[in-house]
Amino acid sequence: MSAVLDHKPLLTHEIGSLDKPAWRVKAYAGQPLGDREFEEAGSWGQRLQVPEYERLVDLLHHAPFDKEKKAEIQRWSSLYALRLEESAGLDVVYDGEQQRTEMYDWAVSHTNGFERRGSVRAFDNKYYSKAAVVGPISLRAPFHNAEFSYLVSVADAELKVPVTGAYTIADWSFDERYDRDTDLREPVRDRRRKREAARRDFVLEVARNLIRPNLMALIGLGARWIQVDEPGASTEPDELDLFVDSFNASVEGLNAMFSTHLCFSDYNLFFPAIERMTQCRQFAVGFANYDSRELGTSDAERPGYQVISKFRDLPAKPALGLGVLDIHSDFIESPELVRDRVLYAVKVFGDPGRIHVTPDCGLRTRSWKVAYEKLRNMTAGVQLARRELGL
């Protein structure tokens, strides 16, 4: 049975990714650094009161960087991101996935059985790297251990480890192993049956052979809260049972608090399937993208949050990670707008202890300036809500 951590009402945390500073990206790619990058490292170091940040600025002046130095720069990037979140006032933090290439690519590039195929569009002109499963899936080596161990050594706030989930990894991959059938002369019904069986094999093999051993390794290092990221979960409405099975297969019997992150979907689709995710103690869900920017706590003023009563009614009574920041826009939500979104959710749930407050998703598509302002306003808005609720 998964652990339940004792958290205060209206707990705040980030979801996962933050943008990577240009000095980190360029240094890692072996590109020349200039005054702009040095200034960025210095000014954010000062602003976030990163201890001894001058050492990073000095290090950046000494290109080229060998493997060890690149790893050191990545750790600095982790530290900066951690301090950004702590400085913004978040209760639970991580490092904005600074040491990972990207949530999908990082996972499959540390896994046997996948080959990269190239980039495909996610939205606008944002692309992600996509791989194909071509052979048996197995974990090459636990791929979050190094970052987690480092963060434990430097974090002041509680840590929550984001881990990309099995369903999303399978959904974002091409399948060149389980489902190679291309004979379109066969009846669709037969092809569909084979496709569904192949898909189940693929997703559950990722859960058992990739995600679960990775989670076990993190727990062995002391991870207490692990967030299984599943932005792909609702992609196929008729596969929600498979998504639930994959979550359960990943976490069953492991001793940590597990949560999941869902975003950019018609969330009604998840019900009743997710009722079976009894080990999921929090659902972190993006809502702000669908909401109005008007102030107020009426149903009409909060159209993006109409579905939250379904999360309230889940039999296992998990917390709801309430997405209150639109991560696809530079619009800075005011503390008052955050407050009203939170108050609306508390009104619907009738229990602030089950409401946690988060951005809709990772903030990696926003600049640090925008992300920082959004997060600061988020925590300020939660303070306003706490005051209003007498917490």
Partner: protein
């Protein structure tokens, strides 16, 4: 279309009341579009559909079908009214501009109908919207229904004022295509635009030959079953080359 952010954006940018913002999943893919926000269509950006001079002839221009457009739009109060407006004021000028610029085929994307379905009452407005776009147009117009089974809709699709109907053979049975295609062209989506496995040449040629012989459409067009934006460029290029190989080989066989 490589510079298009999504199928709607270049057409609606500048129309107002505000730029499209809400990000919505494009059917069951991992690609997202910004839902068009359209209240009035006074100054359509028809030039958005002009084929680039660098594109070799014969040229195809792809545009959204008015039904899909009207259903994907953000908060439209009367979607059938929007469908007619989009057809008349946005797509019709865009199609004419494209035809005048040398587009021989206008390819209308219609995934909504086959993925989500269509109410009986919406067929008549849909047919009217299509007719208002295509009448008098000097180009071949294919309405490509994908991401779902087209067979339940074929009878009514055949009545639409378009040159041809496109079907997604990943989702539609070949046997369900019937044989009533003497007056209609058929586009078959015979390569899976969502799979990185490149279809074998001979089997795809055989499929094409079989459909040409049994369905006997007015004209037969070959395509992927959906857009190729879900594939990395390298894989998409392989599929396009495969499509060309299939077409060349199938032509030889069919003409024999």
């Amino acid at each position: 279309m490589l510079h298009w952010q999504d199928i709607f954006r270049p057409l609606v940018e500048g129309l107002g009341p505000k730029p499209p913002e809400e990000l919505v999943r494009w059917f069951d893919t991992n690609t997202f579009f910004r839902a068009p926000e359209v209240s009035t269509i006074d100054s359509p950006k028809a030039s958005a559909a002009t084929p680039s001079a660098s594109v070799p002839s014969p040229r195809v221009v792809t545009l959204p079908s008015p039904y899909t457009f009207s259903r994907a739009a953000h908060n439209a109060a009367d979607r059938n009214r929007l469908m007619q407006q989009v057809a008349e004021r946005l797509l019709r000028p865009a199609m004419r501009t494209a035809a005048a610029a040398g587009a021989r085929v206008i390819h209308l994307e219609e995934p909504w109908l086959t993925y989500y379905g269509i109410d009986d009452a919406d067929w008549k407005p849909f047919a009217a919207a299509v007719a208002s776009m295509t009448s008098g147009l000097a180009a071949i117009v294919i309405l490509h229904c994908y991401f779902g089974d087209a067979s339940p809709h074929l009878k009514r699709l055949m009545d639409l004022q378009v040159t041809g109907i496109g079907v997604d053979l990943v989702e539609t049975d070949v046997a369900a295509l019937g044989k009533d295609w003497a007056d209609k062209s058929l586009l078959i989506g015979c390569l899976n635009g969502r799979s990185s496995v490149v279809e074998p040449l001979d089997a795809t040629v055989e499929l094409t030959r079989y459909i040409a012989d049994t369905v006997q459409p007015l004209d037969l067009y070959l395509s992927s079953n959906c857009e190729l934006q879900y594939l990395p460029t390298g894989v998409a290029e392989q599929k396009v080359r495969r499509l060309g190989e299939v077409a060349r080989k199938a032509k030889d066989l069919v003409s024999v």
